[in-house]
Amino acid sequence: MYLRNNRIGILDLASGEVSEQDLPDDTDLERLSSVRIADGLAREHGGDSLVLGTGILTASFVPAACAGIVRSARGVMPVLGFAGVELKLSGFDFVVLKGEAAKPGYVWIRDGVMELVEAEAMKSLDSWGRIDRIRANQGDNKIQVLAGGPWCDAKSPATQIVTDYWGGEDKSGIGAELGRMNLLGIAFRGMGELELQEPEGHFEESILLMREQVARLGANEGLASYSSSARREDFKALVHRHVACYGCPFPCRSFLKIHEPAQEFRLVAKEPGYLHYDIPALEKALELGLDARAATDVFIKCARAGVEPVAALARASETSQKVTSESVAAVVSGVRDIRTSATRGNFEASFPDRSTYIECLGLGLCPRYWSKAGFDKDVVARLANSALGIGT
């Protein structure tokens, strides 16, 4: 099948044994949903398994075709940025992780190979340290890492997995599943290749659609194009650049610099700030009186610790009269059994109903972009036809 590796990798963390199974061929877009297939794999391999997957259109030229997923018993989180595409190019369409590793380690996936790497010394590091260490040890700074932090190790319900340093995808505490499995992270790098059924036709059709959508959406202002919270002057004053996920022509990610001037374009500070795309967290921080600089500082601390920021902010507001960067830091510094208070996910809130969200995500498309651009199933089916030879 086009845009597929037709391979599912299964890793038993207890034994380290890797097995594979074929991805059943199908021509129905609904049945090809990554969420639906992941649900099926979880039924087959155990409900407590962690399933990573990519949509049938992930890595295509359909606008914002960047999304993969992580499915656990706690819920489903999108895998965005370049991580979804890299996962698909790693040689697997789906990866099932089951059991519990005897020692702390990380899963390393590349070139159709998957293994558990023991890394006990890495447990003392926060999520950013783990990502840096994995990239350094494997010698490649383009490795994508879904990383946990100390809160994930402690299996707190208020965890978040960070994707390459940043948070906003995991609003259901899937980070705690990493802790339960004794995993510090999941790393992957993709250097494979994917075929399209009609390369030229798919490319041309996708560009036409993208141009029409971009013209209709107008000038992009990064996160401010998606959230009024990012339109405040103190937020805008710190914006360095807007950053897209793979294939997205209208990004929702704005990088704020707080440790050097926002307009510093040379590579000077190694850790100058944070990539904002977590709308519920930003809203919560501003609601509690933090400014954009303090919110950025708080999000960095939360990402490093692997704690979901809405939950940390809510706890800080319960324990101190005035929420400050320091009071949130006090919450983050100790692992507490608090629950996330975000009632709907960051990206899940893009659509009024969950079924459309899941439908869009399951195809490998970013729900936030497609909600903004207008999710039209017939249009997507047409592009799927040129990419896959199915869908119309």
């Binding site: 650049r241 294939g247 990004p251 374009f265 500070a269």
Partner: protein, 110 residues
């Protein structure tokens, strides 16, 4: 006819790299493109590296465009170094990277 890159217009979407690989090998792969993303994500530092026939490597970094050598880590050790790849042939005049670029970061000039 050549490509002009305005690096500060880049949003790091990666479509140019994908479009280039489609022209080269009729598949999507990060291994064959004549144009690649250079990215230091934690520092939010990103730009493009283009292999041209006439000027060699063109580094389109945020602080400016210049000729030069491939920065370390640009494609990762497992990736085929850009110096070993084919130089840009403008897709036979179609310049697919410029065509697909959503921000006009890459344009075709005479």
């Amino acid at each position: 006819m050549r490509l002009r890159i305005d690096p500060l217009k880049c949003i790091c979407c990666g479509l140019c790299e994908a479009a280039c690989s489609l022209h080269r090998d009729a598949v999507l792969t990060p291994m064959s493109s004549s144009i690649i993303l250079h990215l230091d994500d934690k520092a939010d530092y990103f730009g493009l590296v283009l292999k041209t026939k006439s000027e060699g490597l063109v580094l389109a970094r945020p602080e400016g465009v210049s000729p030069g050598q491939q920065s370390s880590g640009t494609g990762g050790p497992g990736a085929k170094p850009i110096l070993l790849r084919e130089a840009c042939d403008m897709c036979g005049g179609k310049a697919n990277c410029a065509k697909v670029c959503p921000t006009r970061c890459i344009t075709v000039v005479d």
